[in-house]
Symmetry: none
């Protein structure tokens, strides 16, 4: 594609591109990391995060000729939890329609609209799994919901760099409806605090044993769609209950 | 991207995918030919045409492991004129906004809509130039108009495979956002049960006194957007906590 434009497609009042994080989990192919960074540059996004990238690939991608500012500024995380800790909305991508029904799945068109709206207020993350396996159930449990690129699958899965490009273009495309004003959503950190305190209460009260149900509880909290203010309220409630329950004792049964 | 879907995204009454030709002019990189074919497969398009591809690249792409039916069925032409001869509408792609004003330029979003509409009646072509030079003025002269992918250019031009993916997704995207299959929402009754049990827990634990805060708690529960299933889960959680807390005693303070 020959270039000649100087237009910035992200000077869009319905999107705050600086608040969008592109998160690649366990990416193996350096070309894909480069392609993701390139699509980000093309469409005006700059915040790339890598969770446990295959180390030689990451080294190679970063040192590639033409590796731009996006790659240079990219940050590496050891867990997806950390990578989305500052995000009020973390959305996993998938080609699946029914594999993991613990999470709501939205088509890309609808999902991107919600991401854009939230980006106006707080950081948001679009999370891409590895080329081979996609996102694990553990990965997905850090996501509020999933976004599906409606691709056919008869001839193989979608290329990671292309998936990133398609998602980001959908983020900047015009002609979308204005969102109603929503309250400021809770960040990943805030949700994690609530989740941890709830787990504590559930263990102490004998509702769950040890951490066997942690993924379930994490998803339960994510489905609450908490605002930042309500996350604070729930934390206070649970702390009080915990205090009243007293120290954890092993259930007699 | 993990795959699991069997949905065909092109079963769209506003598009006839069989009538869409993807035309690559003077492509040099075999990876790009492969990537274009892959995006076509993903999004349900099958008619690939190459105009004077760099011969070794074309040989390599066609013989690559995993080269699918799209590559196998691709046809090679010696001129763009021949490649679009059966098309009622041929649209060139560009990142330029003003370079070649002999042609009307439409943004991708608007252009794809016109292509879709025309595809219902007659064959249409989306034409991509070479990686390095894009489409020449001669090439463009075989096009009815140009379509611009609104990418920034500060950090380089757009990757060909990604440009094809973005254009084709725009062709199959649904105009009206599809709602995700929402879980059955909790009824007022179910919410009231949760609210009452929560009030009980909050009173017993000393978080609230008597029913001074009942409205607040009712709104808090409503804001959880509970599904029927989750309302049941929360009721169970709160009942267990309540049981563990023991009978309500007046707070000493």
């Amino acid at each position: 594609m020959k270039r000649a434009s100087t237009a910035t497609p992200t000077s869009n009042r319905k999107l705050k591109a600086d608040n969008v994080r592109v998160v690649l989990v366990s990416t193996r192919n350096p070309l894909n990391i480069g392609a993701a960074a390139r699509a980000m540059s093309n469409f005006g996004f700059s915040n790339l995060r890598l969770v446990e990238p295959y180390e030689p690939s990451w080294r190679e991608a970063r040192s590639a000729v033409g590796a731009g500012p996006v790659l240079k500024a990219a940050r590496v995380y050891s867990s997806l939890q950390d990578a989305v800790a500052d995000c009020a909305l973390a959305v996993g991508t998938t080609a699946a329609t029914g594999r993991d029904l613990q999470h709501p799945i939205r088509r890309l068109e609808a999902g991107a609209r919600l991401l854009r709206a939230q980006s106006l207020r707080k950081p948001v993350a679009i999370v891409f799994g590895s080329e081979k396996y996609g996102l694990s159930n553990e990965d997905m449990s850090w996501c509020h919901w999933l976004m599906r690129i409606p691709a056919r699958v008869e001839h193989g899965s979608m290329n990671l760099g292309q998936a990133v490009a398609v998602c980001l273009f959908e983020m900047i495309r015009t002609g979308t409806a204005v969102q109603p004003k929503a309250p400021v959503a809770a960040s990943g950190d805030e949700l994690d605090r609530v989740t941890a305190m709830l787990m504590d209460v559930l263990t102490t009260s004998g509702y769950v044993h040890a951490d066997s149900s942690e993924l379930k509880i994490r998803r339960l909290v994510r489905r609450m769609n908490l605002s930042s203010a309500d996350a604070e309220v729930w934390f206070g409630i649970l702390r009080q209950v915990k205090w009243k329950l007293g120290p954890h004792q092993l259930s007699p049964r």
